[in-house]
């Protein structure tokens, strides 16, 4: 038998609750009654069973997913793609905790939002029995009853103070085209966005940005406001190599010096030249020419002072490291590089 939906509007909570009581006595089950209101009334106020609440549970699941995401970002990725960073552990705990906190919270709240959508079956595009006066403070009682009972229910609503009535025959469930279109659009947008990001990230789509950054109007390295040099001064740019003399006071290659050098090497050189100094690091592919193999004979044949100058001034694609290493530290590194000889 066809079902009929009847919607009545009430002014206040008390008559609404009374009417619901009468409908229940008539044999209309609770799940066939829907109450709509412009403000949240408690179920007790209207004599209604408490609706199922699962959003909190869903957000808990979201928290778990957030935790897993965080663990993957902080531990997983770095175990998969280790990148040596100056003797620090690859997966240090304190920063990991910060990231975990944020991803857990992100998961919790996003899940609460999507839980809200899912539990309410949002979005709804098909027409539903409703009355715009509900957002003006009226309370709507919607009863779904069999056609035979319809007239009786209507008069109960009216007698108890319902001032507007609407009746509609329930239509059998149809798939809603607009809803499908909506979710298809959302999915399409996500896929498109992801694809474009990855295409750019993988340099498939190369965007050439115009930039004159290299020639910008700025003050050069370490050039501050300073007094001009005396007229008789000889202009030089940084340290130079004078034949037969060390570039600065060398540090003897003691075991301590080599040990210090090893540590400094892992902090300042290993990112490019690789932890083993053989020129293999995740970054080396991005340099032409590649960072040299420091264990190779041509490099080991360089004098200490030449390596000292390379560290101090840089060479080609290699930046100068004068800011990172003091003169004595540079010698420590050189002493360590010497131990790398094959």
């Amino acid at each position: 038998m066809a079902e009929v939906q009847i919607l009545g509007l009430f002014h206040e909570a008390t008559p609404t609750a009374d009417t619901i009581g009468i409908l229940r006595q008539l044999g209309v089950p609770d799940e066939k009654i829907t109450v709509m209101s412009g403000i949240p009334y408690r179920p007790e106020m209207l004599g209604r069973p408490r609706p199922r609440r699962r959003v909190a549970l869903i957000s808990l699941i979201g928290a778990g997913l957030g935790l897993l995401t965080g663990l993957f970002l902080t531990f997983g990725i770095f175990l998969l793609y280790p990148l040596e960073q100056g003797g620090q552990p690859i997966t240090p705990i304190p920063p990991t905790l910060i990231i975990l906190f944020e991803t857990i919270m992100l998961g919790t709240m996003w899940a609460a939002f999507f839980g809200l959508l899912g539990e309410n079956r949002f979005p709804v595009f098909k027409s539903q029995l409703y009355d715009p006066r509900i957002t003006e403070g009226h309370i709507g009682v919607l009863a779904e009853v069999e056609a035979a009972l319809a007239d009786q229910v209507e008069s109960i609503l009216k007698d108890n103070g319902a001032h507007h009535l609407r009746r509609e025959t329930s239509s059998p469930r149809r798939t809603d085209v607009r809803l499908t279109a909506f979710w298809a659009t959302v999915a399409g947008a996500v896929v498109l966005l992801g694809a474009v990001t990855l295409l750019i990230a993988y340099d498939v789509l190369k965007i050439r940005f115009p930039t004159n950054m290299a020639e910008q109007d700025s003050t050069a390295y370490l050039q501050g406001p300073r007094r001009s040099a005396p007229a008789e001064a000889i202009p030089i740019q940084g340290p130079v190599l004078i034949d037969g003399q060390p570039a600065s006071e060398p540090v003897p290659a003691s075991a301590e010096s080599v040990q210090r050098g090893k540590e400094l090497f892992s902090i300042t050189c290993a990112v490019c030249h690789g932890p083993a100094g053989d020129g293999n690091s995740p970054l080396s592919g991005f340099f032409t020419p590649r960072p040299v193999d420091l264990t190779s004979t041509p490099i080991q044949d360089l004098t200490d002072s030449e390596i000292y100058l390379v560290i101090t001034q840089g060479r080609g694609g290699m930046p100068n490291m004068a800011e990172n290493l003091g003169p004595a530290e540079r010698w420590d590194v050189i002493n360590y590089v010497r131990t790398l000889a094959k």
Binding site: E12, S37, G38, V55, S59, G115, F122, T135, P210, T219
Partner: protein, 485 residues
């Protein structure tokens, strides 16, 4: 007071006793929640101003839009010519852009605090102001999130922050505070938007029911089919509760992490353990001031006098005073250890602020953040005077902006090596970009206020239904029904 239960609250007759009836009049003038009106009038009071497009509105919009375009133009110029066109130079490589970043993130704290914390604490006067505050949070965060990108110069490399696989096979390093920043701000921004949206749903339905044309279609889609069924309300309440409890610690984490951008560096004046809580309080302080400014402006521009009353400015004013006291306490703590420690470089910094070239900035900051609020805000007359509280809020913005300015470029000018001391002066590009960022927030706010209801109508209704007056002896006393959990 006797009420008949089947008469709607806005139609209940006043008591017959004239004295009680006067008291009722008085309470109604004071409290929005005790002054129920016919709901259609309330809906109208929120919806009608959205249609008001006076010449003033267009003038303001055009002005703000112009400044935003200028922002875009200068940013493009800076990308092409390089950061050298700004005043940045050694040793001050962090300056106005980072000041803006910290300042706008700070503004973004008050909104959440007001709508989440006051919601959890069930403070009733928050009801009409939560939307205006949440909106400010979202827009301030958007502006703030742009600044690190402006600051790094090569903005098109911003996607390096995202943990996505790339041809470089290098992932963002979670050792770096800047990645903590990114993660925290991403969480905070997206969740603030969702939080505001969930609270907006019933109002979008209200707007849908009372509009026609493109607005109707827009609200119809955005309201997602909201009808206000019991299930919808119950789920919405749970979701709002989850958000309120979860977003407060996130808010604390965001500004703590912003402070760690500084505190993790071995720069004198920055390397301080108290920076985290101190920044959080500063953020709330400037944010609360900004919310007051926003409330005053929308109240005036959109004629929301019915909704935004003395009680709201009074409450916000007390909040501001409390935050000023707390801020001063943390600020003092931040000085105490270096002062006692007497490190030479810290002494240099203190002298720079107390008697040196930065002294005018420092004293102006102390005036705006401490002297002014402490001497005025204890008075209810000042708190409820709109011009007074607005002026105080503006000056607090000045003070808090100066505070960040002192922490960043002024402090960076001094370090352990006197040979590399320097002074930073803002150049025109970063100055105009700063102006443009303020304009951007203003523009977004103005446009938003014409499209979305700025007062959470359903929260006001709910409050009006739950609040009432109870007669105790000769007096009518406001009471609140607090049903269930």
């Amino acid at each position: 007071m006797e009420t008949t239960h089947d008469v709607p609250i806005w139609r209940r007759p006043p008591p017959e006793d004239t004295e009680l009836s006067h008291q009722l009049e008085h309470e109604r003038r004071q409290h929005l929640l005790l002054d129920p009106r016919y709901p259609l009038d309330i809906d109208g009071g929120v919806l009608k101003p959205m249609y008001r497009h006076t010449w003033r509105f267009w003038l303001v919009t055009a002005l703000l839009a112009g400044l935003v375009l200028l922002f875009g133009a200068i940013w493009t110029t800076q990308m092409i010519l390089g950061l050298g066109i700004t005043g940045l130079n050694r040793p001050v490589m962090w300056a106005l852009y980072i000041v803006n970043f910290v300042y706008f993130i700070g503004i973004g704290h008050a909104g959440t605090f007001i709508s989440a914390a006051l919601r959890v604490l069930k403070i009733e006067w928050r009801r009409p102001i939560s939307r205006a505050a949440e909106t400010l949070t979202v827009f301030a965060l958007i502006a703030a999130a742009m600044f690190p990108v402006v600051h790094v110069g090569r903005a098109w490399k911003a996607y390096w922050l995202l943990p996505i696989p790339t041809q470089r096979e290098i992932w963002p390093s979670y050792h770096s505070p800047l990645i903590w920043d990114f993660t925290a701000i991403f969480t905070y921004l997206t969740c603030s938007i969702l939080f505001a949206y969930i609270g907006l749903l019933p109002d979008l339905a209200m707007a849908r029911d009372h509009t026609i044309g493109w607005r109707h279609r827009l609200y119809e889609v955005l309201a997602l089919g909201w009808r206000g069924t019991e299930r919808e309300w119950a789920n919405q309440e749970t979701a709002l509760n989850v958000f309120s409890y979860a977003i407060i610690p996130v808010m604390f984490s965001v500004h703590t992490i912003v402070s760690w951008d500084f505190a993790m560096a071995v720069q004198p004046g920055w390397h301080s353990t108290v920076f985290g809580p101190y920044f959080v309080i500063g953020a709330l302080f400037s944010g609360a001031g900004a919310v007051i400014m926003a409330l005053v402006l929308i109240r005036k521009a959109m004629h929301l006098e019915y909704f935004l009353r003395d009680e709201h400015f009074d409450g916000m004013g007390k909040f501001l005073l409390l935050l000023s006291l707390t801020w001063a306490y943390f600020y003092f703590n931040d000085y105490l250890v270096p002062w006692y420690g007497q490190e030479p470089v810290e002494k240099v910094l203190h002298q720079l602020l107390a008697t040196g070239s930065a002294a005018p900035l420092w004293f102006l900051m102390i005036f705006c953040n401490v002297v002014l609020p402490w001497t005025t805000l204890w008075s209810r007359r000042v708190r409820t005077s709109i011009p007074a509280i607005f002026t105080i809020s503006v000056l607090i913005q000045v003070g808090m902006y100066l505070e960040r300015y002192i922490i960043i470029p002024v402090t960076l000018g001094r370090n352990e090596f006197p040979y590399s001391w320097g002074v930073y002066l803002p150049n025109w590009p970063e100055s105009l970009i700063t102006v443009g960022a303020f304009a951007l927030i203003g523009l977004l706010y103005v446009l938003f206020s014409r499209i979305f209801p700025m007062i959470p109508v359903w929260e006001v209704y709910e409050g009006q239904v739950l609040q009432g007056l109870r007669r105790i002896g000769r007096a009518l006393v406001p009471t609140k029904a607090e049903p269930g959990d």
